[in-house]
Amino acid sequence: MTTRNPPPEDADTRGEGRTPDEGDGGTGPITDYRFTLANERTFLAWLRTALGLVAGGVAIQQLVPGLASEGPRTLLAALCVGLALVIATASYPRWRAVQRAMARGGPLPRNILLATLGGGIAAITAVAFVLVVTA
């Protein structure tokens, strides 16, 4: 599924407050700065999600020894940190692809990161549920 850039509802049509986009070497249309800053915040939110998963994984392994024996607990922690690794790796290409799409004025690229995160969290939740029930 692709999504078109929303029209800048109250964008300054005189060009004030807009910035040349770096995504196409500065030759493409000028992108409203609110969109580039929103994309930057989304990029940072993906990085925070990855860092949160790392923290969660380490916390599971270190701080809840009563949850399960060492092996299953480490497996759950490794799932969290592995998902963090995937998300962190994919965050920059995603940010770059959205920057380029906005510079072209084209549709935003498909976002498979959300499905990956959803599937990963579902798997982590399922493993955690099994560990809690069998504890």
């Binding site: 407050g17 990855a50 790392v54 923290a55 380490v58 490794a78 940190v81 962190a88």
Partner: protein, 102 residues
């Protein structure tokens, strides 16, 4: 011009640095309690990530007060590499712990 946008972006950098600091604290705890070498590698990487994110975020916040230029790809790539390195080192630490049987 929407003045809140640069401020919110600067705050997002600070939140990211704080998340990295929480990771560093947990990895330092792991290094102090497990006695394995792997967390001793992961913790410094996470600390470096925290420091770089905090410094880059402060600089980005200052620049955003003067100009709303887009984020530099170099800065975005640096942040990505550091967070990825933190995750990879943490995964290595977990798997080392598992293989050693502790």
């Amino acid at each position: 011009m929407s003045e809140g946008q640069p401020e919110r972006t600067g705050l997002a950098w600070q939140r990211t640095a704080l998340a990295s600091a929480a990771c560093s604290g947990l990895l330092l705890h792991a290094a102090a309690t497990t006695g394995h070498a792997a967390p001793l590698v992961a913790a410094p990487i996470s600390i470096v990530t925290t420091v770089v994110l905090a410094a880059a975020g402060a600089g980005r916040g200052r620049r955003l007060r003067r100009s709303t230029a887009p984020l530099s790809p170099v800065l975005a790539a640096t942040a990505t590499v550091l967070v990825t390195a933190t995750a990879a080192a943490s995964l290595g630490a977990l798997l080392t712990t598992l293989s050693s049987g502790h």
